[in-house]
């Protein structure tokens, strides 16, 4: 896993693009903040997601959090492992804890997102 291949949305979501398909997930910071994740609701295949809009819900012992789509597209696959064993998102937020794969409908939206360095800088700023 190389975070250089990832792009980040300010709501602590990431996308990794491979061809015309983007994999979505939540960042390490997001899983750390939520704590133990016990329930995930993901969109079905074929559903259309819009950049900046919520598409999934993640519940931890402490809180419920909406998950935002970093870019637009239609769902081609969701992560059944994350549904069956949501703790995978805590354990491996950038790899095995991915949420959905999406066929991107507007690649120019990727330009609006942050690089790993920019995202880290944003986190450093919020922590100050």
């Amino acid at each position: 896993m190389n975070l250089k291949e990832f792009r980040f949305h300010k709501e602590h979501d990431w996308v990794r693009v491979d061809g015309d398909v983007g994999t979505f997930g939540i960042t390490d910071y997001a899983q750390e903040t939520l704590g133990d994740i016990v329930y995930v609701e993901l969109p079905a295949e074929g559903e259309t997601l819009t950049a900046g809009e919520p598409y999934a819900e993640v519940e931890s012992v402490k809180a419920v959090s909406e998950i935002f789509a970093p870019v637009s597209g239609s769902v081609v696959e969701f992560n059944q492992v994350a549904i069956d064993a949501p703790e995978i998102i805590n354990e491996s937020p950038y790899e095995h804890g991915w949420l959905v794969r999406v066929k991107l409908s507007n690649r120019t939206e990727l330009d609006e997102l942050m690089t790993a360095e920019e995202y880290e800088a944003m986190l450093a700023q919020t922590e100050e």
């Binding site: 704590g35 133990d36 016990v38 329930y39 609701e41 519940e59 012992v61 402490k62 419920v64 703790e87 805590n90």
Partner: protein, 376 residues
């Protein structure tokens, strides 16, 4: 951290251990050190150490101590032997629960342990009702309270006591009793009580010795025997044990009978505040009852979600979370007493959705009876 919130003498230990802190009852307290689920199962399987110094601690002494307290609680104190303890509540005139507390009888009077968020209110209540021959002292600031909870708690204490000079092993303290002792050369008061549904002790100690005691308890021989645990796990542990939390499951509008706390009420023991209201309530029977709920699905039931029966809103969830032992969402809430039977199907309206749930026996977890999930 808010400027006006207090910290315990162990604050730096918590920060050094990497705790995520939270505001609770006017205190800045550890919420979680590693993960709530990990800490929860640590207490169920081995042993967890909690700093609960935010709990209020009052000493009530003098010849009129018993008579003063007797007016404030529905429980009969007259048979409480020295070093025995009792769970009870302060009530208002309407019989509602102002706070729930544990009273320990000591050689020189009574020790009251009350909820952090109600400490100031309780202090006024107690001091306003003291008879001339009774005195009260708020010891919250110059003492600390730890909770060592889990199946290995007494083993851990035995190990530490054995190494101390003039040690007293606490193994023989009966449930709901207390005894003076020594642990890691520090004089303490052991109390065989807790708020986790697990066996264990609470340990009251002078603030001056607290860091040494904390370190000694975490340093027992085999690594991982004792781990620090935060208020997050304390909440899921007490919920699995169906122990009510004041301010959520019980409050000034809750009668003890509704909260299934009828055992703390003795209507024949002599007049107490709330006595008339409870006598009337006892005659009619409770209108609503606290029940345990388990959700059919995996989405959590949360505090203040509405409970529906037959499509009609009948009550509210008062505490809801995930049960790490049952691996299911569990909750406490109130329904009309006519619909409080076990196995009743209900719906819970949670963030616009209706979740299916069922009334189940409380507690959700019974020590030594409920099987634990396999360790991963």
């Amino acid at each position: 951290m808010k400027n006006n919130s207090r910290t315990t003498p162990l604050h730096h230990r918590h920060l050094a251990a990497g705790a995520r802190m939270t505001e609770f009852g006017g205190w800045n307290m550890p919420l979680v050190y590693s993960s709530i689920l990990t800490e929860h199962m640590q207490v169920r399987r081995r042993c967890g150490l909690f700093d609960v110094s935010h709990m209020g601690r009052f000493a009530v002494t003098g010849g009129d101590a018993e008579a003063s307290l007797a007016k404030l609680i529905p429980t009969d104190l007259s048979h409480l032997a020295i070093n025995q303890a009792v769970y009870t509540a302060f009530l208002n005139e309407q019989g509602g629960i102002r706070d729930d507390l544990i009273i320990y009888r000591r050689p020189d009077g009574y020790l009251l342990v009350v909820n952090a968020g109600n400490r100031i209110k309780d202090w006024e209540w107690v001091t306003n009702h003291l008879l001339p021959g009774a005195q009260a002292v708020d010891n919250t600031s110059d003492s600390c309270l730890l909770a060592l909870q889990g199946p290995l708690a007494f083993q851990v204490l035995a190990e530490l006591s054995a190494s101390a000079s003039g040690a007293e092993a606490p193994a023989g303290i009966p449930h709901f009793a207390c005894a003076e002792g020594v642990v890691a050369d520090i004089p303490v008061l052991f109390m065989h009580t807790g708020y986790t549904g697990e066996d264990g002790v609470e340990i009251m100690v002078n603030s001056a010795g607290i860091e040494g005691l904390w370190d000694a308890l975490l340093a027992v021989d085999s690594p991982g025997t004792v781990l620090p645990c935060g208020l997050g796990a304390r909440d899921t542990l007490r919920l699995e044990a169906a122990l009510p939390l004041h301010g959520q499951d019980i409050d000034e509008t809750t009668l003890p009978y509704e909260a299934r706390l009828g055992r703390i009420v003795n209507l024949d023991k002599g007049r107490f505040i709330g006595c008339e209201a409870l006598t009337a309530a006892h005659a009619t029977g409770p209108q609503r009852l606290l029940v345990g709920l388990v959700a059919e699905g995996r989405s959590l039931l949360r505090h203040q979600d509405r409970i529906l029966i037959g499509g009609e809103a009948v009550g509210c969830v008062t505490s809801g979370s995930f049960s790490p032992v049952l691996r299911r969402p569990i909750a406490l809430g109130y329904v009309p007493s006519s619909h409080a039977e076990v196995d009743t199907e209900v719906e819970v309206e949670s963030r616009g959705r209706r979740l299916q749930a069922r009334i189940v026996p409380r507690p959700f977890y019974r020590r030594g009876v409920t099987p634990l999930p396999p360790e991963t």
